[in-house]
């Protein structure tokens, strides 16, 4: 509860200047000739004629005056008037003189903590990887740390979030290779640089963008490896295209036995704007039951400046697990382009 009335000066004990009595009840109170105003009669010790006076009954305080309950005479002697400060107050403590022993346990409330003052170092230690949330009672609670690969998911209202297995299915980015200078082949092979090419995924998607040949009029080709890129198969390939070129020409090619998979139905030009972009799905490369199949869609500009769309497939007759793919032009280098590999899981 707040203090009622004028707040006493903490720890101030002041003796008033001597008072010359006369035939009046009211006298000014001064200390060193400066008027003072005691907070109440109870804050004064008054001695009159050698007798301590009772506060409020023998005298009252009115501002900077003391009023005796009856007029005095010049024969009366005010021995002293001592003004007391707040005798229960410790006053203003010195800097850094109060420690936690002087606080009542649990007495520091929110109002006594300034905003933005709780640093991480002031928080109680937890377990590495945990996060802080709120429980159903609204109290802070630690969640986790979960395990590698898990994701934080909501468990709905009234329940803290939880680390759970990531949802099954979907795309996982495995690798993007960007070519900006002459490179004969771009390879993705299992087991290094973040590339996984095995039964981990149900299929693999390659997105090839703005792939530009150094030479003019060149097919874009694909080969497979069964030894994670140490070598590439040079026979047993088959492919079939269904293409259409601006100007109306159909461009259909196929081969049942070749040394590469020809990915495009026409040859690509090397003019600055002439490139090929495509998406290529590689289905179940670890499947040992059948031939490996890839399906492709491509858009390209040929060496005559025609726009060409191609839907195509490719295969190899090997039943060994395929663990690497190689992209290349028939001759010369790839001098620009980006090649991105995703793994795709069904669940």
């Amino acid at each position: 509860m707040a203090y009622i009335g004028k707040i006493p000066l903490a720890g101030a004990f002041r003796k008033c200047d001597a008072i010359t009595t006369s035939s009046t009840a009211t006298y000014n109170l001064t200390v060193s000739s400066v008027a003072v105003s005691p907070e109440s009669a109870n804050n004064c010790i008054v001695s009159l004629n050698g007798v301590i006076q009772a506060p409020t009954s023998a005298y009252t305080i009115a501002g900077s005056t003391i009023v005796f309950n009856s007029s005095l005479t010049s024969a009366d002697v005010v021995d002293f008037i001592l003004i007391l400060g707040d005798v229960l107050s410790i006053g203003t403590p010195s800097d850094d003189s109060i420690n936690s022993n002087h606080y009542v346990d649990g007495s520091i409330d929110t109002a006594h903590i300034a905003d933005d003052q709780i640093t991480l170092a002031k928080m109680a230690a937890g377990t590495d990887g945990q996060i802080i949330t709120y429980d159903a009672s609204g109290n802070p609670a630690a969640v986790g740390p979960g395990s590698d690969g898990q994701v934080l998911t909501s468990t709905g209202a009234g329940s803290p979030p939880a680390f759970e297995a990531a949802p099954g299915g979907g795309f996982t980015h495995l690798k993007t290779t960007t070519i900006s200078s002459g490179t004969a082949t771009v390879d993705f092979s299992h087991g290094s640089g973040g590339v996984v090419f095995d039964s981990t995924y149900n299929a693999y998607l390659f997105i090839l963008s703005d792939v530009h040949p150094a030479n003019d009029g060149i097919p874009f080709e694909l080969t497979f490896s069964t030894d994670a890129g140490s070598s590439y198969l040079s026979s047993g390939y088959a492919y079939a295209h269904k293409g259409r070129r601006s100007g109306g020409a159909d461009m259909n090619h196929n081969s049942a036995s070749d040394s590469v998979i020809d990915c495009t139905s026409n040859n690509i030009g090397n003019g600055v704007v002439e490139t090929v972009s495509m998406q290529l799905w590689f289905h179940k490369p670890s499947n040992a039951d059948g031939h490996k199949l890839v399906s492709m869609h491509s858009a390209m500009i040929d060496n005559d400046g025609h726009y060409v769309a191609t839907v195509s497939m490719g295969s190899n007759s090997s039943t060994s697990a395929i663990t690497g793919v190689r992209f290349k032009f028939g001759t010369g280098n790839i001098d620009r382009g980006s090649f991105t590999m995703f793994g795709v899981k069904n669940s």
Binding site: K175, T176, T177, I179, G182, T183, A184, T185, V186, D187, F188, S189, S192, G193, G194, V195, G217, I218, P219, E221, G229, S234, G248, A249, D250, M251, N252, H253, D258, S259, V260, D262, N266, N267, K328, G330, T331, G332, N333
Partner: protein, 70 residues
Amino acid sequence: MTRYKNVNGVRIQFTAEEETIRDAEEAEAVIRIQNKADAQIAADAKKASGKQKLKNLGLDDDEIKELTGA
């Protein structure tokens, strides 16, 4: 000219063996390119002659396009 391969994002110089293999692949590709071009020329020629024969039968260009797609 020295060739390079990019394996999983790392650019690596071809070995002598790889250079030999690539030389052979490029020689094959030249033949494949020519065969592909020849096949396309032949297909285009057959398409043109077939179109002309249809015209000779009295079909106009729109009718031929609806029939053949070209």
